[in-house]
């Protein structure tokens, strides 16, 4: 009887100490972590993006009746900022990132939103459809990396597909029904960011230290830059890509 009592006390003490340590360590991390922020620019004028002929599917062409669709290989803002560039830390050895909001890859008006979805290895994401026409969602990774291709139908009203990827890879995604639909799953390790339409990005939750930041663009290639992140501060990294 007494023994059992002792055990309970010891166990609860262990749990309490454990919780305290966890809270403390998180607190320390949050205060000490810095971030990397910057802008990605495109050198020179943005390449002309071809318009997309969606006449084979009246639903799609109607959705773009007033606002014709274009390919999204290069999406550049008025200030020359380059969108859809994935920024991440090369050779990240830290822990997996705590999942932010649920990542969503939406099939909307017969295009992918976002065009590039960045994620950590093992991080789950949702593929959903907002369209009243059937799609199939068909990522095509190289199975030798450990990422296995799959192909799921997404007729109107489909439930979202929830998935994750094992290995780092830039995975092209397409819809075989609408051959113009193409996008990317950018699977990286550690903290990441994707540049917005003005080319701006912020990689959050980076502990102090020296890093190599990699910027990846689906057509313009990759660039790297060394940065030093100080505790609680923002380091800056700016990139300029040339269109290929």
């Amino acid at each position: 009887m007494r023994n059992r009592h002792n055990l309970a006390v010891v166990l609860s003490a262990v749990v309490l100490v454990g919780c305290a340590a966890l809270i403390l360590s998180q607190g320390v991390n949050a205060a000490g972590e810095g971030k990397i922020t910057g802008t990605v620019k495109l050198d020179g004028p943005a390449p002309h993006m071809k318009g997309i002929d969606m006449s084979k599917d009246p639903y799609c062409s109607k959705a773009h009746a007033s606002d014709p669709a274009h390919y999204e290989t290069y999406v550049a803002g008025a200030n020359g900022g380059l969108a859809n560039v994935v920024l991440y830390i090369d050779g990240w050895t830290g822990a997996a990132q705590a999942s932010n909001a649920v990542l969503v890859f939406d099939q909307r008006n017969c295009m992918y939103t976002p065009h590039v979805l960045a994620m950590d290895t093992g991080e789950s994401f949702k593929v959903q459809t907002s369209d009243q026409t059937a799609h199939n969602i068909h990522p095509n990774p190289n199975p030798m990396t450990g990422n296995i291709p799959w192909n799921q139908s997404q007729p109107p009203g489909s439930p979202p597909v929830e998935k994750s990827w094992k290995a780092t890879e830039f995975i092209p995604v397409k819809c075989n029904i609408h051959p113009w639909m193409n996008g990317w799953f950018a699977v990286v390790k550690g903290p990441y960011a994707t540049s917005d339409e003005n080319g701006n990005f912020t990689i959050n939750n980076v502990p102090p230290g020296n890093y190599t930041v990699t910027a990846w663009h689906e057509a313009a290639g990759t660039q790297t830059q060394k940065v030093t992140v100080a505790a609680g501060a923002a380091a800056s990294a700016n990139f300029t890509f040339k269109a290929k």
């Binding site: 084979k56 599917d57 095509n140 192909n151 051959p179």
Partner: protein, 292 residues
């Protein structure tokens, strides 16, 4: 007498014919593959051993599938898509005909069935002339080309409930499923493989591929029993544009769809008779959702 230029251009174009169609995807070397010579397969109560299939593979398979199992055998360049699909790349471990969900490995039985059945509209013949043991050994041999089988298990087969009785209601319900899933986008409203997206289809290696034409008398590649057809659209054919519908079609509806698909096929069937009596019209691609 040909000029030197003529000779060279002839030679070059001849070379191009041989080089261009070969999509090289070989990524593994013989020494890497040899580490998996101990691979086994289990088909019913037969255990297959990869090392016992070496001779049979050399004799019967290597001409198309190649010594490295990457589908680049010496005959491969002559199999031109979309009419003839090129041989499978076993190194990738991706297979069309599975009983398992999309993105998972097939079972040993699936591979055994594929070898036994062969593939209609392709150069892959039926190998039911080989003994069961030989075929089981070849299954193990096929598996040993891909590292996927080392760390991964086959998927859990998609369950197929017992086939219900065909009724006129079920065929009509199947027509609704066909419309709702928009199968016609590739397969056409009459199953003639002439849907609006049919002409732009490509396989995972970027080669043109045709949708299945239900009406021309050929058989589906992954078998032509009602169960096979059920399995094909529920699992999807990995490596091709055909997706899995397992998340979107309920088991009962799946049978309805099987019966409706039978009405397209040229072979005589109860379904075809019933459809004639019902005077079923093809689905209307322009009808609003749910109003066929």
């Amino acid at each position: 007498m040909r000029t030197r230029l003529e000779k060279w251009s002839l030679l070059l174009s001849a070379a191009a014919v041989f080089v261009l169609p070969t999509v090289s995807s070989a990524q593994l070397s013989t020494s890497d593959i040899d580490t998996r010579l101990g691979t086994e397969s289990h088909v019913g109560n037969i255990t297959g051993h990869a090392k016992d299939a070496k001779g049979d593979y050399r004799r019967y398979c290597v001409g198309c599938h190649g010594p490295l199992g990457d589908g680049n055998g010496e005959n491969a360049p002559y199999m031109q898509p979309p009419m003839y699909q090129q041989p499978r790349d076993f190194q990738l471990g991706i297979f069309k005909c599975r009983s398992t969900p999309t993105g998972t490995l097939p079972t040993d039985q699936d591979l055994y069935d594929a070898i036994t059945r062969g593939f209609d509209r392709s150069n892959m013949p039926q190998w039911n002339t080989l003994s069961k043991q030989q075929r089981a050994d070849l299954v193990a041999w096929v598996k040993h080309f891909s590292p996927r089988w080392v760390g991964e298990k086959p998927g859990t087969p998609i369950p197929i409930p017992p086939e219900p009785e065909v009724t006129a209601e079920r065929i009509k319900a199947g027509r609704d499923v066909f419309a709702r899933m928009q199968c016609w986008k590739c397969h056409g409203v009459q199953g003639m493989a002439n849907g609006p997206s049919a002409s732009t289809l490509q396989d995972d290696l970027g080669r043109p591929i045709a949708a299945f034409n239900f009406t021309d008398g050929t058989r589906p590649k992954c078998g032509d029993t009602d169960q096979d057809i059920y399995r094909i659209f529920m699992t999807g054919l990995d490596g091709t544009p055909m997706p899995s519908f397992a998340d979107n079609i309920k088991p009962d509806e799946a049978w309805d769809l099987v019966f409706y698909l039978r009405t397209f096929m040229s072979q005589k069937s109860k379904e075809k008779e019933m459809a004639k009596q019902l005077a079923l019209k093809p689905v209307d691609p322009n009808a609003p959702a749910g109003q066929q």
